[in-house]
Amino acid sequence: MTALIEARGLSKHYPSRDGASLVRAVNGVDLVVNQGETLGIVGESGCGKSTLARLLLRLIEPTSGKIVFGGEDFLALGKRALRQRRRDIQIVFQDPYASLDPRMTIADIIAEPLEIHGIGTSASRKAKVLELLDLVGLDPNALQKYPHEFSGGQRQRIGIARAIALEPKLVILDEPVSALDVSIQSQILNLLMDLKQRLGLSYIFISHDLAVVEHVSDVVAVMYLGRIVEQGLAEQVLGAPLHPYTQALVSAIPAMDGKKKPQRIVLAGDPPNPEHIPSGCPFHPRCRNVMDICPQVLPLLKPEQGGNVACHLYHSITPLR
């Protein structure tokens, strides 16, 4: 498999509101998405997953690190080249109410990326828009309507049509179904899986909903306070998690059979603030397996049982000689 996008040591630090400290929103993230693959990114609010999405699109510039997209240094691209390259990476946002311009018709919204990139004639763009509407399961009479005339699920279909208009290679989906009702969620998830197959897309699927991520992803990365703490095949990471944080996340999903789960790990405390990242392993204040070493040494992401995990439980540190 060939890597479509690869990030190495990607970080984004912001000055805190009072200017006295740093908010480390994303902190040394390594990731790879192969052609045709879906990488799921899970984590709680403030873990940096949405900042990571914006970094990968270069909607914001990283503080440090590297992004290689299609074999090319993505961060070295100048303005014009970047705009060209962005045809290949598109994003679908969480809130279908906030991400569509209320004053534009659906036809204009979907055609806009084609116009910006100067693709086709006005007639061929029209045809393309119709084709896209059909692809995302919307009626052609939607064309002259405005976003407010649609339900949340339909708006998300419009957002998806806009994102795939340029035939991108990678689509970043940032909580694409979180704002939708369950029965509508499943319609959109089915659509996304269908489009992936038909158009040969790769996805980065960002969500806090583990069940949704497990369903759509090949590979899953779990983020905590700006770092990936566990990563591997979806079945493995979410089926037999290694990191105590992933274990707690997985056990927090209520069972759906009306029977209570045998053991539930309830994490104490709140998701901490990226402005005050604990020393050593950032998870140690909430970890039930905490050891002496944890507050002192940051565990790195290392191979373990076919995946990667950043936890001292699994790798003993090399003794000093």
Binding site: E44, H215, D270
Partner: protein, 323 residues
Amino acid sequence: MMHELLLDVENLSVDFNTEKGRVRVVDGVSLQLARGETLGLVGESGCGKSVTAQTIMRLLPTPPSHIAGGHIHFEGEDLAMIAESRMRKIRGDKIGMIFQEPMTSLNPTQRIGQQIAESLTLHRGLSYRESLPKVMDVLKKVGIGNAVGRIDQYPHELSGGLRQRVMIAMAIVCGPNLLIADEPTTALDVTIQAQIMELLQALQRDLNLSILLITHDLGSIAEICRSMAVMYAGRVVEKGGTAEIFATPRHPYTYGLIGSSPRRAKKGEKLLSIPGLVPPPGQRAKGCNFADRCPNVLEKCRSVAPDLMVMQGREVACWNPIP
């Protein structure tokens, strides 16, 4: 098995005045909640579950809302009939309520301790100083440590999970028998959701509290509710024991709802989905509201709306239920 009923909602209908005239939002809903039990009311946006809850609490202003019919029996009174002055004595004292977004339900300019003490002042006539021991005690009950330090804090100084705990503390400080929880964990992270669900369960056990949990999340219903009612477009379509409904949903809508969850599906497989959209209030047909989306639809469904019918230990409103 059936304990004494604490809350018995009987054939409740609620109308709203809109630009297009009077529209029925809740249509003949009946719910029973026994003392010390938990009932889950589940449904998607716009199904009328929150309006039902807010009507039980009589929180909706009239106009635009009207109770168009039915009864809300609670501890020997009919909340649908009593005067607002009487309701004010029940609200916050005998029935507590928590909402989805603690940040918008708490007063940002008032300290936590004062907000919790408010209902003690209102219902028990206690001064702030007199209510402090109770406030400390309830903070402990909801799992907030360092109560002395917390009471002088403002809501913005707390995390989402703590704010939700404060809301719960406010709701239970007078020792109500009924707690109405309207999407109490929807705005919270998964690990915090788990904390709040555990807390609600513990409170129910320790205080013999009855909980009416309103949510769109089938998972949290499965977790803490012994019985459940499924609402669709203003009506209850299925009602019964949670485990039984999850095992063998009878109403095609319940079946679709449970099946749409990726938690149930095989990986990568197409999820069950319900085509179409919920008909908005005012555009509901005279037959079954689900008929246009239903795979089991019959001729009859389009003309006559089915009432809840008893079927193998549960109630289902369907002419052609799943056997």
